[in-house]
């Protein structure tokens, strides 16, 4: 019995010594590459299931830990997406404005619209007037039309050196002589005051004094007629919604959906009187289709379209440089578009200190170089002259005169 115990104890000691020696061999004797090979062999065979378990556990832990982080990132992404939508909207608005500036070419002053607020600080829903961040210092004059890329917004009423106040079409005093896009019917457009407690129709226009023989279909585009000396011809005012019954039995009155929403106004163009006289028919075109006109305006502000225009201008400039006879006219054109202190894009020859009537048309024929020095589609850029700067605004003298409303 005692011998068995002693032999067992001896065996235990031997096993312990062998195991210890075995471990020491791995710990200190074997070279690194052999130890690595042995460990790799263990990891691939005996310990492989345990390694897999450990990896899954660590993955689970990291997934658990990153859950909150991922949620926070997802929320941040959602917030960023919201701001992207706002940025896209602003980008589209500014692009439209650039397009409008490129179409107008000269004689306009860009301005930001500051909406008035009531005594409680809320935005004025009626939007009778808006403040504009441009004043007489940059050439704003009273009774200048205020337009947006979509169409007519209002008219400058009061001018200060650094800012001005404009009435919008929602103002009860607003009037504009208007006609249908095809010129078949004329009338006076004014704010529709509506009726009832909530006056839901308050945000519409009405076209009064349309001859009884003229029946207008819903969707017909209404543009300014150019009569009255304030608003140039061809600025979209709105679209016909339908006829409304009034006490006037000798003329029709139509409800018009305005092209511009005053509460959404942010950036506008103030058209200088001489530019209004020169006409803006080519800006919104004849507006047979308002959508296509808007698309054209937007396309003018498109960077790709701008790049193509610049390439065309460069080609023309190269052609001009090759012709000594045209060099002089090119120089004159360059001098005409030299930087001016005024913020307004002015016609050639127009003095910035005295923005009076434009000069008569230049004696030379329209030159290709007229557009060379102009940075295209930049609203505040100094613009090149129009092809034929008219001394007076073009008028369709064949039309019957209609009552002119002086604001």
């Amino acid at each position: 019995m005692a011998r068995n115990a002693r032999s067992g104890s001896r065996l235990d000691t031997v096993l312990f010594a062998v195991c210890g020696a075995f471990s020491l061999v791995f710990a200190g004797v074997l070279p690194g590459n052999l130890r690595e090979a042995f460990a790799a062999g263990l990891r691939r065979t005996v310990v492989a299931p345990l390694v897999s378990l450990q990896r899954r556990a660590e993955l689970s832990r990291s997934a658990f830990l990153t859950h909150d982080q991922v949620t926070a990132q997802r929320d941040s992404a959602a917030i960023r997406t919201l701001s992207v939508i706002a940025l896209e909207s602003e980008n589209e608005r500014l692009r439209k404005l650039l397009g409008l500036g490129a179409q107008l070419r000269w004689g306009f002053i860009p301005a930001e619209a500051i909406h008035s607020a009531d005594a409680r600080g809320h935005a004025n829903a009626e939007e009778y007037t808006i403040a504009l961040t441009a004043g007489s210092n940059v050439g704003v004059q009273p009774f200048s039309p205020v337009v947006a890329p979509e169409g007519l917004a209002g008219m400058v009423q009061t001018v200060d050196p650094t800012m001005s106040l404009a009435i919008t079409w929602a103002n009860p005093d607003f009037r504009v002589s208007a006609m249908t896009a095809d010129g078949s019917a004329f009338g006076i457009v004014q704010a529709h005051l509506g009726s009832g407690p909530n006056r839901p129709e308050r945000y519409l226009l009405e076209m009064r004094g349309v001859p009884f023989r003229s029946t207008l279909q819903p969707g017909t585009l209404v543009v300014s007629s150019g009569y009255g000396g304030v608003y140039p011809e061809g600025v979209p005012v709105g679209t016909i919604l339908g006829e409304i019954k009034t006490s006037e039995t000798w003329a029709r009155t139509y409800l018009v959906r305005p092209a511009v929403s005053p509460p959404k106004l942010s950036s506008v163009m103030i058209i200088q009187p001489q530019r209004a006289k020169a006409g803006v028919k080519n800006v919104w075109t004849s507006a047979v289709a308002a959508d296509s006109a808007t698309r054209r305006v937007v396309a003018a502000g498109d960077s790709a379209a701008r790049a193509a225009a610049m390439a065309e201008v460069a080609a023309r400039r190269a052609a001009l440089d090759s012709s000594p006879a045209r060099a002089d006219s090119a120089r004159r054109a360059s001098a005409a578009v030299a930087p001016r202190p005024s913020g307004a894009a002015t016609p050639p020859g127009a003095s910035t200190s005295a923005p009076a009537a434009p000069r008569p048309a230049a004696p030379s024929p329209p030159r290709a170089a007229d557009t060379t020095a102009r940075p295209a589609a930049t609203p505040r850029a100094d613009s090149a002259p129009p092809r034929t700067p008219p001394a007076v605004a073009p008028r369709d003298t064949t039309r019957a005169a209609i009552p002119v409303v002086t604001p």
Binding site: G8, L11, D12, T13, V14, L15, F16, C19, G20, F22, S23, L24, V25, F26, A27, G28, L30, R35, E36, F38, A39, A40, L42, R43, V46, V47, L50, V51, L53, Q54, R56, A57, E58, S60, R61
Partner: protein
């Protein structure tokens, strides 16, 4: 030890090994619970010292395969701890949770000391910090977990009256 007891011990041993590679990475504490030491000590007090040394050596090699740079030191430490635990089983093999807790604590601390000193990767203050702060903390956590597991696995580990 009967076959039945050996089988139950093997099951408990397997559970603890699996816990070491699943629960321990999930918890990822600074002072981790060493389920391998708990399993080794539970097995060591139930077998002869020589068998305990072999078990410790094999377990140490398996554990060291995850860290090849310290291959062998873990095996050596586990061999020593298992052999010592098996020799000391008359002292600690009482049905007293506090004594068993102390048993786990000493086993884990000794293992950490042997492993740290043998590996020779830490020196000076860091070695003192490891030996006197982190290792005892880890040993305490391991002892606590060992006691809890001992209670939970009591039906599996209690020796049947032969």
């Amino acid at each position: 030890m009967s076959f039945n007891a050996s089988l139950r011990l093997a099951v408990a041993f397997g559970i603890l090994v699996v816990l070491n590679y699943t629960l321990r990475p999930l918890l990822a504490w600074r002072t981790p619970v060493d389920f391998l030491i708990i399993a080794l000590l539970l097995a060591a007090v139930r077998v002869r010292p020589g068998a305990a040394a072999v078990i410790g050596c094999l377990m140490g090699l398996a554990a060291d395969s995850m860290t090849p740079e310290s291959l062998g030191w873990g095996a050596l430490a586990m061999t020593a701890v298992a052999f010592g635990a098996s020799w000391l089983k008359p002292v600690f093999f009482a049905d007293n949770l506090l004594l068993n807790g102390l048993f786990f604590f000493l086993g884990k601390w000794c293992y950490d000391l042997l492993f740290t000193i043998g590996q020779q990767r830490t020196h000076g203050a860091e070695l003192v910090m490891q030996a006197l702060v982190w290792s005892p903390l880890s040993a305490a956590v391991t002892a606590l977990a060992g006691v809890v597991l001992l209670v939970l696995l009591r039906p599996l580990l209690e020796t049947s009256p032969a």
